[in-house]
Symmetry: C2
Subunit: 401 residues, 2 copies
């Protein structure tokens, strides 16, 4: 893969898709809060959804959509725990947006983010839809990526062009929204991926799930999982050629690699923009007895409030990391563990290695890797996390107000 | 049980025990950090210890002590991840303290709290021990309860006198230290219980474990579990009579009830003094399908950073509670759930019940109960938690410094 293939945070058209955004006033004032994407030459569609028992109405709606051709998103109201009326509001939204975009309601995917338990401001949404649909354009993705935000401080979108060999070059684009409530098990509120690589829905669903497992499900902000977590992907046939149907299809390997890298960039951007976060830390566990133990150990360290406040305080307090490893359920000998901060061998065989000054320097960086080698087996896992700051408490102590 | 039996935060002698405290300068300056308790007429002893894989040297030491007659505690240095030298320091401490107190080293229980990974300042401890042992007195428990503190803002000790029927009145006393790192699975750093009810060690161990399960293991501050968590109990034969040997022994039922209430008071005092906490909230789950699901649901809500920051912000944002219940693994219908804040029926059948103003009033209290009725089965559980405040981040971002 050449340097040009690296996902970069820019927005430009994806052949076969038009997008638009609008400030509907559903909840926010004078701020874009409604986004629409329409596929002109649809091919495949796939979704990955929250496993929360209290899944929101738009999640329930989108789960049963097949052969999707459009995505309608609103920010500010989650349409979760809204009962029968929330489900009716979904049907009405899809119906109205679909009609304006020339798409059957049953092919309109929905996603919402915001306050749980409030009914959608349907009059405001319905009033805004005609202008929204009327402004659909190939240049609308940038606005779309802004209209889905809540406590995010910036839009998070990436676009990459990939050479699929004999198939030629194709485009992959994705954007994401998510700042708090980010946890394993579908670790973002809302993410959208578009491509002009024609791909069948079944294949798209399988690779999307695999890529989510290694990207969004490997980040954590506060260990919470939302009622609305949704990842949607649409592929267009604009790029031409026979649709990818399986990993054995020509070019599928490069497509999958590019998709994974795009989603990794999206996931990382969520942690970098996490509520109040000042640092991004990769927690890598090596040498675990099983893959499950490697992941459990990495997640326990990455989620520990004591570890996360130590990251914030730039306090080279490795005892808190050993302590978190020790309650993770992973099997290890406390006196065989090595800890590294980037290249600094911080703890050797479970005891201080006399490198505190160097460790402290690494902890002052905006981004670094903490590696715990359990020296027990051969399994590794990594989880991306952030620090726990005053600002997180401020934001979440007053989010609704 | 009469009102006089309610555990109250006072310190006064427990027949059969002497205690002392000293400022050793092991880590802190001019602050009591060393405590000693000696049983003059020992009877039974029992302990409950952390399950953390990285259990500290004093935990390893105390696990193998039988027929204990003394407890030596230090605050400021955890003696965890200190390897062979840490174990040798334990042996030397027990030897020195035992010699001065007239107790074999093998009968001296040890407990430490503080920074993980630092070797104990043995010269300072050994220099302080003679004066410490020399000042043992029946009035020393108050000082002991202060010498075990780290980031605690106040000593936490309770004493109760209980009428055991034909046996007459007996004393139960306990003190606790713990402010952060409080979680299920042995939810306190250090707790000590003394009684002049003669009780055999086996019996004491069994009732201590049961009482810990329903008290210390039902509180949470930040979900972390320490390397040093230790709960120790000593009984003296000073009260006279045949030792309690089982729950069938005359008076055992009242003793167990009093012990449970004492430990409940100690556990509550830990949450009330939690790092930076401004509120104490009981999270009660009712109507779960199984006892395990009831506890998992209560713990998930009680540990959620989003719920805890909403408690801090006094924000009646019930969606975060439903959201946490929804990822707890407990089975329920989101539209059958009821939520109550004290007596206010906040959420009915999963949707807002129009009581936000009343709910807000409850959330302004320093202590209240959040009840989630899943309306699914017949099992209940409750967990005591606190809010997540700016102060928590401040304390833990700079604990070592």
């Amino acid at each position: 893969m050449t340097k040009n293939d690296t996902p970069v945070p820019v927005c430009s058209p994806v052949p076969g898709f038009r997008a638009a955004s609008a400030a509907s006033g559903m909840r926010y004032r004078d701020r874009p809060d409604l986004g629409l994407i329409v596929a002109d030459r649809p091919c495949g569609s796939a979704g990955v959804f929250t496993r929360n028992t209290c899944a929101a109405a738009p999640v329930v709606w989108s789960r049963q959509v097949t052969d999707a051709r459009a995505i309608l998103v609103n920010a500010g109201q989650a349409n979760a725990q809204t009962g029968e009326r929330g489900r009716a509001d979904c049907a009405a939204s899809a119906e109205a947006a679909g009609k304006l975009a020339g798409v059957p309601a049953g092919r309109v995917l929905l996603a919402s983010t915001g306050i749980i338990g409030q009914r959608m401001n349907m009059p405001a949404m319905l009033a805004a839809l005609p202008a929204l649909a009327g402004s659909l354009s190939e240049d609308g993705l940038d606005g779309f990526s802004r209209a889905i935000l809540t406590t995010d401080t910036r839009p998070k979108a990436f676009r990459t062009e990939t050479d699929l060999g004999a198939r030629g070059r194709f485009t992959l684009w994705g954007c994401v929204k998510g700042a708090g409530m980010i946890a394993p098990d579908m670790a973002t509120l809302l993410a959208f991926v578009l491509t002009d690589v024609p791909a069948e829905s079944g294949y798209l669903k399988s690779v999307l799930g695999k890529a989510a497992e290694l990207s969004f499900n490997r980040i954590t902000v506060d260990g919470d999982t939302s009622t609305n977590d949704t990842l949607l992907a649409l592929s267009s046939s604009a790029g031409g050629g026979a649709p990818l149907a399986s990993s054995a299809s020509p070019g599928a390997d490069r497509f999958e690699e590019a998709l994974f890298r795009l989603m990794e960039s999206l996931a990382r951007s969520v942690v970098e923009d996490a509520e109040g976060a000042t640092k991004t830390v990769t927690v890598a566990v090596r040498g675990a007895e099983t893959p499950g133990q490697a992941l459990a150990a990495a997640r326990t360290v990455a989620c520990s409030p004591l570890v996360k406040t130590a990251f914030f305080g730039e306090d080279a307090n490795w005892g808190r990391i050993l302590c978190a490893l020790g309650r993770s359920g992973a099997a290890f000998d406390p006196y065989r563990v090595d800890l590294y901060l980037d290249g600094v061998h911080w703890v050797k065989d479970g005891v201080d290695n006399g490198r505190e000054e160097d460790a402290q320097k690494v902890m002052k960086l905006a981004s670094y890797t903490l590696t715990a080698d359990l020296n027990r087996g051969s399994h590794d896992a990594a989880v991306l996390t952030c620090d726990l700051s005053h600002e997180y408490v401020t934001i979440n102590g007053s989010y609704r107000s």
